[in-house]
């Protein structure tokens, strides 16, 4: 058992932190960037590509760095720390991860190198109105048409669905099951309406009307691959949450030390300090379980359950820290001019993208009777 970062990982963290702090260390810069489409800074996206981060988890033969889940976690945490709006998790970890997991060698060669180079930004068009957080699709259906396929139906909300140039789309297969397809951004019969989310990122309504699509991989039901890819993304989001919670708490304690009321700084009030102490407890527990989930992934353990555990705890702790960070600031915490509320907004968005705490708790609850105790260092995690 070893949960310590090695020197290369520490170097990676420093380099990512330096880049992102240059871009978003001043929270006003993020506010400005997220006001206009595409909701992130294309220059920063290019810089991330130049550092190799957009190909971090992909094999070197596909233009990637061949790095592991812990390196991905480090980048996600640093993104969370400054709320960098670049869609690293959405495009690289989730959409790219699906192409990497399911795609043929030719597809990996075609798409991943472009993702790693920053010239292509894929997204996973999966969510449908009327269902939530399932690994299956129903509102978009796939139909065989000659050598290829066409898709019909609607997906929403699709992360960065208007900006993405490649859509990985889940769709109900004619014979049952859920397949995965690739749709190019300029395909016929594709219409996309983008909008701004409360956290400054972007989503879109994406409609398919007999839209030509290519099967990702060798076809067939991909429910398990989707489940796994979402689990990996949930783990990455848990690290983004930890980074965001860390800054939310740090910002709050700085505020308590400087803001004066009744002639004294707020940290003279034990009622406030105790709430900050409880936030620290939440943060440390979240940090532990997020890191563990990444190491489970590294060990090829039960990544779906590990992700549910990380999701459950970062949901609970994210809400706790997010809400109390605003409360301890007072009115300024609710303003858009001040940064802390944006952290709460982002934590809230993360909490609902791929499943909230109750969702994860339900899945874990269904299994509690099947084993007496959990050994986080043993089966099924190791």
């Amino acid at each position: 058992m070893d949960f310590t970062y090695d020197s290369e990982q520490n170097d990676l963290r420093e380099a990512v932190a330096a880049l992102l702090t240059r871009a978003y260390g001043d929270s006003e810069a993020r506010r400005k960037v997220t006001k206009t489409d595409p909701g992130f800074d294309e220059k920063v996206w290019t810089q991330l590509a130049e550092m190799g981060l957009l190909g971090l988890p992909f094999a070197e033969e596909h233009g990637g760095m061949g790095a592991g889940p812990v390196e991905v976690a480090i980048v996600a945490e640093e993104i969370g720390r400054v709320l960098a709006p670049e869609p690293f998790i959405e495009a690289v970890v989730l959409a790219g991860g699906l192409i990497d997991a399911v795609g043929t060698d030719a597809q990996k060669g075609e798409f991943l190198e472009a993702v790693a180079g920053g010239t292509s930004l894929p997204t996973f068009a999966h969510a449908e109105i009327g269902t939530r957080w399932t690994p299956t699709a129903s509102a978009v259906t796939a139909t065989e048409a000659g050598d290829g396929w066409t898709l019909s139906g609607a997906k929403e909300p699709v992360p960065h669905g208007a900006r993405a140039d490649v859509l990985v789309v889940s769709a109900a297969l004619p014979g049952g099951g859920t397949g995965l397809f690739v749709v190019q951004g300029d395909a016929t019969g594709l219409s996309r309406t983008g909008y701004r989310n409360h956290d400054g990122t972007r989503s879109a309504n994406v409609r398919f009307d007999g839209t030509p699509a290519t099967q990702l991989g060798t076809g067939g039901d991909q429910t398990q691959a989707i489940e796994r890819a979402q689990a990996v993304a949930r783990i990455a989001y848990s690290h983004e949450s930890v980074g965001a919670m860390d800054t939310a708490l740090r910002t709050t304690t700085e505020y308590l030390k400087t803001r004066k009321q009744f002639g004294v700084t707020l940290n003279k009030f034990q009622a406030l300090n105790f709430r900050a102490a409880d936030m620290y407890v939440s943060l440390e527990l979240a940090r532990s379980i997020a890191l563990w989930a990444s190491v489970v992934q590294l060990s090829d353990g039960d990544v779906v359950t590990a992700a549910d555990r990380a999701r459950l705890l970062t949901s609970r702790t994210g809400r706790h820290i997010g809400k109390d960070a605003i409360q301890l600031h007072g009115g300024i915490g609710v303003t858009a001019e001040y940064k802390v509320g944006h952290y709460t907004s982002r934590l809230t968005a993360i909490d609902h993208l791929l499943g909230d705490g109750d969702f994860a708790a339900d899945r874990l609850a269904a299994k509690v009777g099947s084993y007496p105790t959990v050994d986080p260092l043993g089966a099924p995690y190791a």
Binding site: M1, D2, F3, T4, Y5, D6, V70, L249, T253, L256, K257, N267, Q270, N273, F274, A276, A277, D278, Y280, V281, E284, L285, A286, S288, I289, L291, W292, S294, V295, V296, L298, S299, G301, R309, L312, L313, R316, A361, D362, L364, A365, A366, V368, G369, P372, T373, V374, P376, L377, G378, Y381, A382
Partner: protein, 391 residues
């Protein structure tokens, strides 16, 4: 990074597990598993078995019986012991006065006490808290006045856990009432509980049990060689001791065992025609507690991996705070599983209420203590906000 324990540590864990589950009498472990209080003899028998195998005081200096283990090995040792329902070596001996003697005692005191302390030939109790000095320990008022080569002790201690079994007491007393800071002018004395002038009054707790006591001192004469460390420097020893007290206080193994029991009980308890374990509210509650317990265990592992020189990591306050809350949540869960049967605490023969349900509410009430002792959770919040967050 790596998830699995190294093969050496896996073997170590297996060795501990095998020892605890085969060498400690089943009858004693069953009692702990059934949430019944072990007797004094159970504690003594167990600790002497452990000590004979050099497993009672592994954290002591090697020359006094310690094992020079890594913090992770000690963690595994403790967790396996709790999982196997082994009564732990008496904390007053092994975590409190033993390390203090090893660190601050003179050679004569070490020779006199350490081996017997490790073997529980001497049962120690702790004379720290007083009626007006609880969380504010430095406010203690018990006095010790020098008279020739003796100290004369007067005052009162309270919350003296298992004092009724104790042979000796280690006691903080004010030896310089004129000291400017109240932390100065305190010394640590040790003396037998049957010294003339020592009287003990048991305090009945909410669960009907007797585990704490009041101890009164009336002109108790203590030889001056029984003073540990330097005169008026007892606060240093107290701080050292209280720092050790927090080690292992997450009690993850013990709580895991209780939660496993709760699952079994929920499986056997029917509600609306189905096992309570299948009731969504119960299974969710178990899942939430279990998940926090996983996070706590992982945090404990991070803390032990980063603790240098045996000094407690500042985040050990997190372990105490969350560890105590989770222990309490599981005892509360078990009372709720018992439901109406939980009222039958003192039923004897002729009652059909199962044993576990009888003890559930007393134990729940008794476990309110865990967020109070060892530095109350409010004290831990003061430590976190002050030491860690700089507030």
């Amino acid at each position: 990074m790596q998830l699995q324990l190294s093969p050496e540590l896996q073997a170590f864990r297996e060795e501990m597990r095998t020892f605890f589950t085969t060498q400690v009498p089943q009858e004693i472990r069953d009692k702990v598993a059934a949430r019944r209080h072990p007797t004094k003899q159970d504690f003594v028998t167990t600790q002497q078995i452990l000590n004979a195998a050099n497993l009672a005081v592994p954290h002591w200096p090697v020359e006094y019986g310690g094992r020079d283990w890594t913090p992770l090995q000690r963690h595994i040792w403790r967790e396996e012991m709790q999982l196997a329902h082994v009564p732990e070596p008496l904390a007053f001996n092994t975590s409190m006065i033993g390390p203090v003697l090893a660190q601050f005692g003179n050679e004569e005191q070490k020779d006199r006490f350490l081996a017997k302390t490790a073997n529980l030939d001497i049962w120690w109790c702790q004379g720290f808290s007083e009626p007006d000095a609880g969380s504010d320990l430095a406010g203690l008022r018990t006095t010790a006045v020098q008279d020739g080569d003796e100290w004369v002790v007067n005052g009162q201690k309270t919350w003296t856990t298992m004092g009724q079994h104790a042979d000796w007491i280690f006691c903080l007393a004010r030896t310089d009432p004129t000291a400017e800071k109240k932390q100065r002018g305190i010394s640590m004395l040790v003396f037998p509980m049957d010294t003339p002038g020592v009287t003990l009054r048991p305090i009945e707790l909410l669960d009907g049990g007797f585990e704490v006591n009041e101890v009164f001192f009336e002109d108790v004469r203590v030889p001056s060689e029984n003073l540990i460390g330097e005169v008026n420097k007892g606060w240093d020893q107290a701080k050292f001791l209280l720092g050790n007290e927090r080690v292992g206080i997450a009690r993850v193994g013990g709580t895991k065992g209780m939660l496993a029991l709760a699952k079994e009980l929920a499986r056997e308890t029917m509600y609306n025609g189905a096992p309570l374990l299948e009731d969504r509210r119960y299974s969710s509650r178990i899942a939430e507690i279990e998940n926090e317990l996983v996070a706590l265990e992982l945090t404990a592992l991070r803390v032990v991996a980063n603790s240098a020189d045996g000094k407690p990591h500042p985040a050990s306050s997190v372990l105490k705070l969350k560890g105590s809350v989770l222990q309490q949540e599981v005892t509360e869960l078990i009372v709720d599983i018992a439901g109406p049967l939980s009222v039958a605490s003192f039923a004897e023969e002729g009652s059909d209420v199962p044993d576990w349900a009888r003890v559930s509410a007393p134990e729940y009430l008794n476990y309110r203590k865990v967020s109070i002792y060892g530095g109350s959770n409010e004290v831990q919040r003061v430590i976190i906000s002050g030491t860690i967050l700089g507030l």
